[in-house]
């Protein structure tokens, strides 16, 4: 087990743990925006960790460059996707309630 593979397993472990948390967060948060926050933010970080871990496995080959490009692409697209989701929800009038249990205020 060279140290590179050890690092890779560590990174991949962390990434998958994060994803598990995101999943749980998605289920347990009370309303849309909280769930969205959990999924989106964690999603980007977990993806970065995964790609870094894979990069270690591949070592200094063309594969790693490709992984880097994928990471770059993901960094662009997933936050934008979350933004689009949030914006669509907001435009269509969904408001998060002030306190848990209170009916959401009428759209402004």
């Amino acid at each position: 087990m060279t140290w590179l593979q050890l690092l890779a397993t560590l990174l991949l472990g962390a990434g998958s743990l994060l994803l598990l948390l995101a999943g749980i967060g998605l289920l347990r948060f009370p309303h849309f925006y909280a769930r969205l926050h959990a999924a989106a933010v964690v999603d980007t970080l977990a993806a970065a960790l995964f790609l870094a871990g894979l990069g270690c496995l591949f070592g200094a080959t063309l594969g790693t460059v490709k992984l880097g490009l994928i990471l770059l692409f993901l960094l662009f697209t997933s936050p934008t996707a979350c933004h689009a989701l949030a914006r669509a929800a907001w435009v269509s009038g969904l408001r998060e309630p002030a306190q848990p249990g209170e009916p959401p205020p009428s759209p402004s």
Partner: protein
């Protein structure tokens, strides 16, 4: 996989069903990867998850989101399904086990592709060589299928003058989704570049006409979503698409006819180039180009037609 499929069937909310279908095809693409079917995974992800989800969304916008609870007795379909399932399971008993190298499947026709395609056609990606050359006629048929679909949809919901430029809700106000516009302005060229990469990289790694066509189309579909139908129509007018789609099929067919005129059988690329292998390269390149042309223009045309129909409603 199974769970997603079951949930897709059970849910009443069709929007959820479509999204889950997208997830389902992404998962199946993953499964294809596990089963070493690289090209198939690529196509399934691009075509299955990408285009069909968008088309379904358009259809849903037109036809309402929720489904009525089924009133008819459910036991008859269940019976039929169980019967067919039982027949199939009964049928698989004598099938050779999955993955065993000794299966008849690997003995008869496939070995030749694996051993000789390197020499005869000279490209590493065996799937593309089989797709374009050995069984090139199938792919011509397939391109014709794509063209028929585009023609059929055009016949059904095409030829309609768009009344008003009501673009989909997202781009209603120019400044509204600034972030999306900025990001997409950056992304679209990258996607196009990637599409071209896939097109010409088809012989070495996974990729080829279909996937490239869809990726090129998806770049413009993003543009259509974000900037609205009118701007996109200025860049790529519908009439151009209606010319490009048939042109792709003709290009494909034409390559075959060229081989015919130069003395070989139809779709025989050997006489095309100076050396037989060179001919194969040229043939496959042209054929893949034809496929990409038809697929991208048809997919984009579909989105135009659906967008126009939805906007009109």
């Amino acid at each position: 996989m199974l769970v997603t499929a079951l949930f897709v069937v059970r849910t009443r909310d069709l929007l959820a069903a479509t999204m889950l279908l997208g997830a389902y095809s992404l998962l199946s693409a993953g499964m294809f990867m596990v089963l070493d079917a690289v090209d198939v995974a690529f196509t399934e992800a691009a075509v299955g998850a990408g285009v069909s989800t968008i088309l379904m969304l358009y259809a849903l916008v037109a036809s309402g989101r929720f489904e009525r609870t089924p009133t008819r007795p459910q036991w008859l379909p269940l019976l039929v399904v169980l019967a067919t399932g039982a027949a199939l399971v009964w049928g698989t008993f004598d099938l050779p086990p999955v993955g065993a190298p000794g299966n008849p499947v690997h003995q008869h026709v496939a070995p030749r592709y694996l051993q000789q395609s390197g020499a005869e056609i000279g490209i590493p990606n065996v799937v593309t060589s089989v797709l374009a050359s050995y069984r090139g006629y199938d792919t011509l048929g397939e391109t014709a299928v794509v063209f028929t679909a585009g023609l059929g949809v055009w016949l059904l919901i095409g030829g309609l003058q768009r009344r008003g430029a009501a673009a989909p809700v997202l781009a209603s106000a120019p400044h509204a989704n600034l972030i999306l516009r900025v990001v997409s302005k950056f992304l679209i060229p990258v996607i196009l570049l990637f599409g071209l990469y896939v097109q010409f990289h088809g012989e070495l790694g996974p990729g080829g006409g279909f996937q490239a066509g869809v990726i090129l189309a998806s770049a413009l579909i993003v543009h259509l979503q974000v900037f609205g139908a009118d701007q996109t129509r200025q860049i790529v007018p519908e009439s151009l698409l209606r010319v490009l789609a048939p042109l792709g099929v003709l290009l494909y067919g034409g390559t075959g006819v060229a081989g015919l005129l130069l003395g070989g059988n139809y779709l025989d690329y050997h006489p095309l180039g100076r050396t037989p292998v060179g001919g194969q390269h040229l043939g496959i390149l042209l054929v893949e180009l034809g496929v990409a042309l038809t697929v991208s223009s048809t997919m984009l045309l579909l989105c135009y037609l659906f967008a126009a129909r939805v906007a009109r409603r």
